[in-house]
Symmetry: C2
Subunit: 210 residues, 2 copies
């Protein structure tokens, strides 16, 4: 703790980057401790020792602030492994994603952010910008490489493969009719890669063997 009793004005005012960093840290603290509903401009301003006017100037909604805070301060543990074996890499990736979604600290926060995003377009935009957009791009790049190696069908819409995998996990998180487990993650990858159809030799749509 410093001995500074309150934010000073005029000379000694903190640089904007420092204030911004403090606000994001305060918002992340509230978010992780009490959930997305606790991230209001009032409470974040008080916790960060910043003025509410500043917050209004920098973030279009408290939800947008919450999303940026979360993705700035959460560990980025979703790097895509790339060993050259798509099934192994995807399985590792989906297991890690399921662990993230089912952790006490992070699962409810991500669900809460997506929840509030349904009625807060600014939060929705921040979620895309800071999280789902870059993640989608990363997955697509991995799929493109696997296709270049000959592992994926040429006529496959790779963007839809993202929805089939990550969307299935979010489905079990957000509409929890069935359990979200690592076993689910493993079987999901197999389902998506191998397809649901029974392989019947001689089917018209089966590749000829010679």
């Amino acid at each position: 703790m410093t001995s500074q009793p309150s934010p000073r004005r005029g000379r000694g005012r903190r640089p904007a980057a420092e204030v911004r960093e403090g606000v994001l840290r305060a918002a992340a603290g509230l978010l992780l401790a009490e959930g997305v509903k606790a991230v209001t401009f009032d409470r974040v301003a008080a916790a960060a020792g910043s003025s509410k006017v500043t917050l209004y100037k920098w973030w279009p909604s408290a939800g947008a602030l919450a999303a940026e805070a979360y993705f700035t301060h959460s560990e980025q543990r979703l790097e895509f492994p790339d060993t050259g074996d798509l099934r192994a890499d995807l399985t590792a990736q989906m297991r890690a994603f399921v662990r993230l979604l089912t952790e006490d600290r992070t699962g409810p926060v991500i669900a809460g952010l997506i929840g509030v995003a349904q009625t807060d377009p600014e939060l929705s935009a921040a979620f895309s910008r800071h999280y789902s957009g870059p993640r989608r791009a990363l997955a697509l790049a991995t799929f493109e490489k696997a296709r270049a190696r000959g592992e994926l069908r040429d006529d496959l819409d790779l963007r839809i493969l993202v929805d089939q995998l990550w969307g299935a996990c979010y489905h079990r998180l957000l509409i929890p009719d069935e359990p979200l487990t690592e076993e689910f993650a493993v079987a999901l990858v197999d389902n998506a890669l191998d397809g649901a159809l029974a392989r019947r030799p001689g089917d018209p749509d089966e590749a000829p063997a010679a």
Copy 2:
């Protein structure tokens, strides 16, 4: 309109079923006109001419009331076609589902219900009970029949196929990084049935052709 100025007590009190029906109708009206946030016990009680005490007695949360109202009063247009051709039936089903999710009237309501469900366990339970649970059971029954006809792999986890299909559509609804269209629905079914892997004759996991 009747000439009854306000709900009467004692003799002349409306039967419970009629009151309940009126409350659900009022809640559905608010939900479709103004979204899930408009469905509060205060506003529904006022719109239905019922007492708030009654509403508290019957519904654990305003969100749970909103969910029951929606699924009681929305047209049930998701009947599963069953012509004996899984690809055709699933494609018809997913196109209808995408149309439902992208309609001005219904899409934002469903997204809003799922959104609020993330911080309202009673709404989440009502959503499962009135909607996603029965829909999941219906899809599973269809998949079981297709498997009995030999269309689906014996070792497939059919519950996961539900997440791959419906979950992918919800993914584009709730995290709108990519467009939710009928073309998407058609390609999604093909992806899920055929699998993502390139078919390479002679692969160890490929069925022999003879």
